[in-house]
């Protein structure tokens, strides 16, 4: 798990459509900066700037071995960022479990409350007889 600060960096890095497109391309495999720049009408320095943001957010890694330093996707921060909706889902699922219990409790209380009322009716009949 990354820290909340890392997660903020991930959110910030993902806020840009070009960077998201770069990540989508990298999800299909490693690519060089030149290859990544191809679909965009952008200068190499502009692309490099985007890559630096992604690298700082630990969303991509750069190879050291080859001179062309291939970029690759690092999935871990993306998993963390996706987890928030899962936490939210769990919040509701578990709240619904408690709601289910609580509704049972309410119904039980309600039927218990009806018994004295039945007694009252009997009592009322008695009173009428008198």
């Amino acid at each position: 798990m990354t820290t909340p600060d890392h997660l903020s960096a991930t959110f910030a890095a993902l806020a840009d459509p070009t960077r998201r497109a770069i990540l989508a391309r990298l999800a299909t495999g490693e690519a060089s900066v030149t290859q990544l720049a191809e679909p965009f009408e952008m200068s190499m320095p502009a692309i490099s700037k985007h890559l630096k943001v992604l690298e700082r957010a630990h969303l991509i890694g750069r190879g050291r071995e080859a001179q062309w330093r291939p970029c690759r996707l690092e999935a871990a921060p993306l998993k963390d960022i996706s987890d928030w909706i899962d936490h939210y889902r769990q919040f509701w699922e578990q709240s619904f479990d408690r709601l289910d219990d609580y509704l049972r409790e309410l119904k039980a209380r309600d039927s218990a409350a009806q018994k004295p009322r039945a007694k009252d009716k009997k009592h009322a009949r008695k009173q009428r007889k008198n």
Binding site: P17, K79, S82, D83, W84, R89, W92, D97, L103
Partner: protein, 167 residues
Amino acid sequence: MPASNAKTSSATNLLERDLTLTRVFDAPRELIFQAWTEPEHLKRWWGPRGFTAPTCEVDLRVGGTWKIVMRFPDGVNEHTMQAVYREIVPPEHLSFTNTALDKDGTRLLEGLTTITLEDLGGKTKLTMYTRMTGLVSYSDRMLDGMEPGWSQTLERLGEALAEWSKS
């Protein structure tokens, strides 16, 4: 947990997400509507087990606000949900915009939630549809100690990103 009648689905976008949950409750919808709209009821079930809801204020009218504080099992950490009612149709429909805040007042997520209650002859099918946007570091702090049981393959991640970059 009765997983059999709890179905979930979510869209592919990572920051903005749709979530639909359904659950069948063995209670009439009037009672469930009450449980959703009266503070004394809400406090009894809001949040996972071990969590409490020390504060709940409801102004049940369109444009009215609903605020509920959820206290963590540690007794210290708190998250607040602030909502504004958009539609109120007892006992079948409730919709509200909602924002979740952490203890420092940082907005964690916001969205629009719709609750529909369908009468199944004594039982009630509840459908909750929510469209949420994660705002900041909405992290594992949220519901600490809960296992998400979630796994995402790189392929699916790639599909999600491809979908997203089109928008």
